[in-house]
């Protein structure tokens, strides 16, 4: 451990570099404030940078995220720490939020790396690629994904065998195993929490068979299969590589379900499932796509029309709650469900099942502040203390919340929420400016 702690000063600290954190940072920076943006992953962009296209406009997600991320990365008022953790934030005065930050070593000097991928080819270790949602493998010396920012190699030290193969082939000698964690003490005048959400873990519902049945995947995995930077060149089911032709979507997987401790609606899964169904109909014109739902929640601008469009394209919508999913020997799946419009229990066979997993809170947000200072709601999202009058306000004056850190929401709502948080943060700084 590098003992020396560097003391740094910024106007604002933004925790989380997803679309909400990025937007908040840009708004602050464009108004002339200096921002430190801290992201725990190896790239900016959060979940959005990994998506295929986005509802209801079907814009290519990479095409709208990468330039935004690039703007953030180049902004003269924004400094970015990736692979970094904010361990505590302490409010010393109205003007002084003190954060302890640990920047983990990447074992690659980003400035010198040309992303030539020679290290990747040389590395003998293969592990599951988390950015491709475990659908394929990656090396221990690797570039996280093709549109990652920063686009540079990283060494996954947990899986690295220290064989040194990468170091030998690197033409710019930017791999450095002697790198140490760095400690920073940051003083900022305001804080925006944009720590985002976690996906519901489908292993919590064993009757859906995720993790046991090979052809039951999550919506995030499907998102990767249909993204421009997809792992395979086509859509296929992981069990045997067959191109599926009868795909089922199970909505509300882990949402609206008190039995898994998540009684609320995730607000995005109806829409992203309808989006994926439309994209699948385009990519696999012969395939049948069926969506099993409780209610379809297409409530935003253009959403209802998007839902009707999916119906028009031939996506089947079945109102019914899935009881169990069983696997057949050939890898196909039998879904048992109650068909509500007929009032009978039925079975249907599909060759691939996508679980539309819901949005869970990210508990990180609460842990960063001294015991209980940042209030959470019953679902462990950051509590909004004035939901109607000032939705970005939290229980700590000067700390604001942006995006899905406070509740499930889609990208347009995350961006508006980030606009709101940055507006409050700017007002807060102005009001507490030392004379």
């Amino acid at each position: 451990m590098n003992e020396e702690k560097k003391i740094i000063h910024y106007d604002a600290l933004v925790v989380g570099g997803g679309i909400a954190g990025g937007e908040a940072a840009l708004n602050l920076a464009n108004s002339g404030y200096r921002v430190l943006l801290v992201e725990k992953e190896r790239s900016l962009g959060g979940k959005m940078i990994l998506l295929s296209k986005v509802f209801p406009t079907l814009d290519c997600s990479a095409c709208i995220t990468t330039p935004k991320v690039s703007e953030i990365a180049r902004h003269k008022n924004i400094t970015i720490f990736t692979e970094s953790e904010v361990t505590t934030i302490d409010k010393r005065s109205e003007n002084d939020f003190v954060a302890q930050i640990t920047k983990k070593p990447r074992y690659v000097h980003v400035e010198d790396c040309t992303a030539c991928q020679l290290c990747e080819q040389a590395c003998p270790v293969s592990v599951r690629d988390e950015y491709q949602q475990g659908l394929i493998g990656r090396k221990a010396a690797f570039i996280p994904f093709s549109i990652a920012n920063p686009k540079a190699a990283a060494i996954d030290i947990e899986n690295c065998t220290l064989c040194g193969a990468c170091e030998k082939v690197c033409p710019t000698h930017c791999i450095d195993f002697t790198m140490q964690p760095e400690q920073f003490e940051l003083h900022a005048r305001t804080v925006v929490m944009a720590t985002g959400f976690n996906l519901f873990d489908p292993l919590e519902i064993p009757r859906y068979g995720y993790g046991q049945h090979k052809n039951v995947i999550t919506s995030m995995q499907m998102e990767r299969e249909i993204a421009p930077t997809r792992p395979f060149n086509t859509i296929l089911r992981p069990g045997d590589g067959k191109v599926p032709d009868k795909i089922a979507y199970v909505l509300c997987a882990g949402s609206r379900d008190a039995s898994v401790g998540n009684p609320i609606c995730s607000q995005i899964c109806c829409m992203y499932s309808i989006k994926q169904a439309q994209l699948l109909m385009g990519a696999l014109p012969m395939a049948d796509v069926t969506i099993y739902y409780i209610n379809i929640r297409s409530f935003g601008k253009g959403f209802e029309e998007f839902y009707q469009q999916a119906k028009g394209m031939g996506v089947s919508f079945v109102k019914g709650k899935i009881g169990t999913i069983k696997e057949k020997e050939n890898g196909n799946l039998i879904l048992r469900y109650e068909d509500i419009s007929e009032g009978v229990v039925k079975e249907a066979e599909h060759d691939m099942v996508v679980l539309s997993v819901g949005v869970k809170s990210n508990p990180d947000a609460g842990k960063i502040f001294p015991q209980g200072a940042l209030k959470l709601d019953p679902h462990r999202f950051v509590a909004q203390t004035d939901l109607m009058g000032s939705p970005a306000k939290t229980s700590i004056d000067g700390v604001f919340v942006a995006g899905t850190a406070s509740a499930p929401m889609d990208i347009p709502d995350s961006i508006l929420s980030a606009g709101s948080a940055s507006s409050e943060a700017i007002s807060y700084i102005k009001q507490h400016q030392e004379a």
Binding site: S31, C63, I64, S70, A227, G300, I340, L387, S423
Partner: protein
């Protein structure tokens, strides 16, 4: 003439390269006259490629840059900025769209798509060779900001701007502020009433010296553009005989927060206006907010059984309002719970089309179910029929939730859960020429990248005038719009595009045809050298080119689209 052009052909992930053979395009253009290098790239807009481009400009000594990728609407500015970082004049950058125009338009014909892409890139090269450096127009911006509409969104936008030490004019056409919210009692998801919330925010505004609240005031005209809008306002007389006062103000930016209208059912729509027992959701809210005593009384009658018919005026697949109004499921359930808790002995029947209590609002739905409310669901093709005979109102419907059984129920009161529609009074929209979406609400530039901006520079939209929203969503949008308006003009100096129309006053003899054709009122009649001619206001002109072809003596040219450029492009396309 450019001699060292760099050409980048983008895969756009697969959006382009799935149908266009990008390598073939590259080979087809790399030896064109003037081309110094041609490259393909997976994502031209990625940070890594942008850096490569800047590097290429330096190392290959490029004098022109072309990217063949997506629509210029998305990335023209991105690549102009890259060009500028490479120290070239950014207006010499040429963009060509081979995604929408080649790949997506011809996904059934890969060879044809590739061939078209090649021609488009060749045309871009022809244009690039003649591209001249241009310089943006700079001018001083007025720092006051006007907010139109003092509902919850407008008031919050004004407060947020005031916090940023900006002078704000808050203009409200009614004589009281607060919009719809001011009239509500208890709000869903909150402990506060709508009236208390608006009062709290209004009082907060009154404390600020830099906000001028003008109620009973309408904007009657607007001239100018970003940085310098001249608004003429008229104070509506409080009572007849009061003088009508007008005034003029100059502002740098405008936040439009004019809100929505509640859908007004037509006569006979679910029995509306045919029976006193049928009322709208806002009427019902007023009824329970103002009711006294332990019983709910309406028209002298005790109310026990209430039927709520959802989606009235919304989700009309083939009708005028195809959208979902977003707030009304939650609002109706919340009102029904209020009624049940306050008056006891109430039976609620929710005749819905699929309940949309998204997010945490789901808990209200769960609470209502726990209270024993009954939910019945109908399909658009078989709407419930409401019949009143004497004092009795009967509803028949086919219920999806009980295997399509036909049910009949009697209700003392039928509440039509009416949605949001755009304001019938569109004066403000017309004044600023704000475009509308399919839903007839004001349209944003880009739902994800620029959700509060409009195509009219300097005019932002806040709250439900952009589309249905609840209070907290409206406030988020208002604060975003305020921040955007603020950051647009806070620097004081503004840049506008140099790509504007140019009138050759020697040829012009003022016939006025161009002024008629201009959608932005950018052309004025002025005396120049002793005769009347057309003059273009550079800060208003958008360079759309509508004026050029209608000019009889051909006196109008569009900068950046010179005849040389256009003719050589046409030659390359042929």
């Amino acid at each position: 003439m450019k001699e060292r052009i760099g050409v980048y052909i983008c895969h756009c992930g697969g959006n382009i390269s799935d149908y266009v053979d990008v390598e073939k395009v590259r080979q087809a253009v790399e030896h064109e006259t003037g081309v110094a290098m041609a490259r393909t790239t997976v994502f031209a807009c990625s940070d890594a490629n942008q850096n490569d481009m800047v590097e290429d400009i330096r190392t290959h000594n490029l004098d022109g840059v072309i990217v063949a990728s997506c629509s210029p609407k998305l990335h023209l500015t991105t690549f102009r900025n890259v060009t500028e970082r490479g120290e070239l004049n950014k207006y010499t950058y040429v963009h060509t769209n081979i995604r929408e125009q080649a790949s997506w338009a011809h996904s059934d014909d890969k060879e044809g798509a590739t061939d078209k892409a090649i021609r488009l890139v060749k045309a871009a090269i022809a244009k690039s060779r003649y591209a001249e450096p241009l310089h943006p127009n700079l001018f001083e911006a007025e720092k006051t900001i006007a907010v139109i509409g003092a509902g919850i969104a407008g008031m919050k936008a004004a407060a947020s701007l005031a916090d940023k030490q900006t002078e704000v004019l808050l203009i409200e056409k009614e004589h009281r502020v607060g919009g719809h919210t001011a009239t509500w009692g208890p709000l869903a998801m909150s402990e506060e009433s709508g009236s208390a919330l608006t009062e709290r925010i209004y009082n907060d505004l009154l404390r600020r010296e830099n906000v001028t609240i003008m109620n009973g005031t309408e904007v009657i005209s607007s001239k100018g553009s970003i940085g310098n809008f001249t608004l003429k306002v008229r104070k509506r007389p409080l009572k007849e005989g009061d003088p009508v006062e007008t005034a003029e103000f100059t502002v740098g930016s405008v936040v439009v927060a004019t809100g929505f209208d509640s859908y007004q059912p037509k006569e006979g729509e679910f029995g509306f206006a045919q029976s006193d027992n049928v009322i709208t959701l806002p009427d019902f809210r007023h009824l329970i907010d103002h009711a006294e005593g332990k019983e709910l009384i309406y028209n002298g009658k005790k109310i026990r059984n209430i039927a709520y018919i959802y989606c009235v005026g919304s989700r009309q697949t083939n009708g005028e309002n195809s959208y979902c109004s977003r707030f009304c499921c939650t609002s109706a359930i919340h009102a029904s719970i209020l009624a049940k808790k306050r008056f006891g002995k109430i039976n609620n029947y929710h005749l819905n089309r699929g309940i949309r209590t998204y997010g945490k609002q789901e808990l209200l739905y769960a609470e209502s179910l726990a209270l024993g409310d009954l939910y019945l669901q109908w399909a658009e093709e078989t709407p419930p029929a409401v019949v009143t005979e004497g004092k009795k109102t009967t509803i028949t419907l086919r219920d999806i939730l009980s295997a399509n059984r036909d049910l009949e129920l009697e209700a003392d009161l039928v509440v039509l859960v009416t949605g949001m529609v755009p304001r019938a009074d569109n004066k403000v929209g017309t004044l600023f020429k704000l475009p509308k979406g399919r839903d007839r609400f004001f349209n944003e530039v880009h739902m994800k990248l620029r959700p509060v901006e409009t195509v009219i520079d300097g005019v932002t939209i806040a709250g439900s005038c952009q589309g249905p929203k609840n209070i907290s969503e409206s406030v988020n949008s208002a604060l975003s719009a305020a921040t955007k308006s603020y950051s647009l003009i806070s620097k004081g100096t503004l840049e506008t595009e140099p790509i504007v129309a140019e009138v050759n006053s020697d040829l012009c003899s003022w016939c006025g045809k161009c002024a008629e054709a201009c959608p932005f009122d950018a052309i004025l009649q002025q005396e120049v050298g002793g005769k009347m001619v057309a003059v273009v206001n550079n800060s208003v002109c958008k360079g759309c080119g509508m004026c050029a072809p209608v000019c009889p003596p051909d006196a109008i040219n569009l900068i950046n689209y010179s005849s040389e450029e256009i003719m050589s492009m046409i030659d390359a396309l042929a």
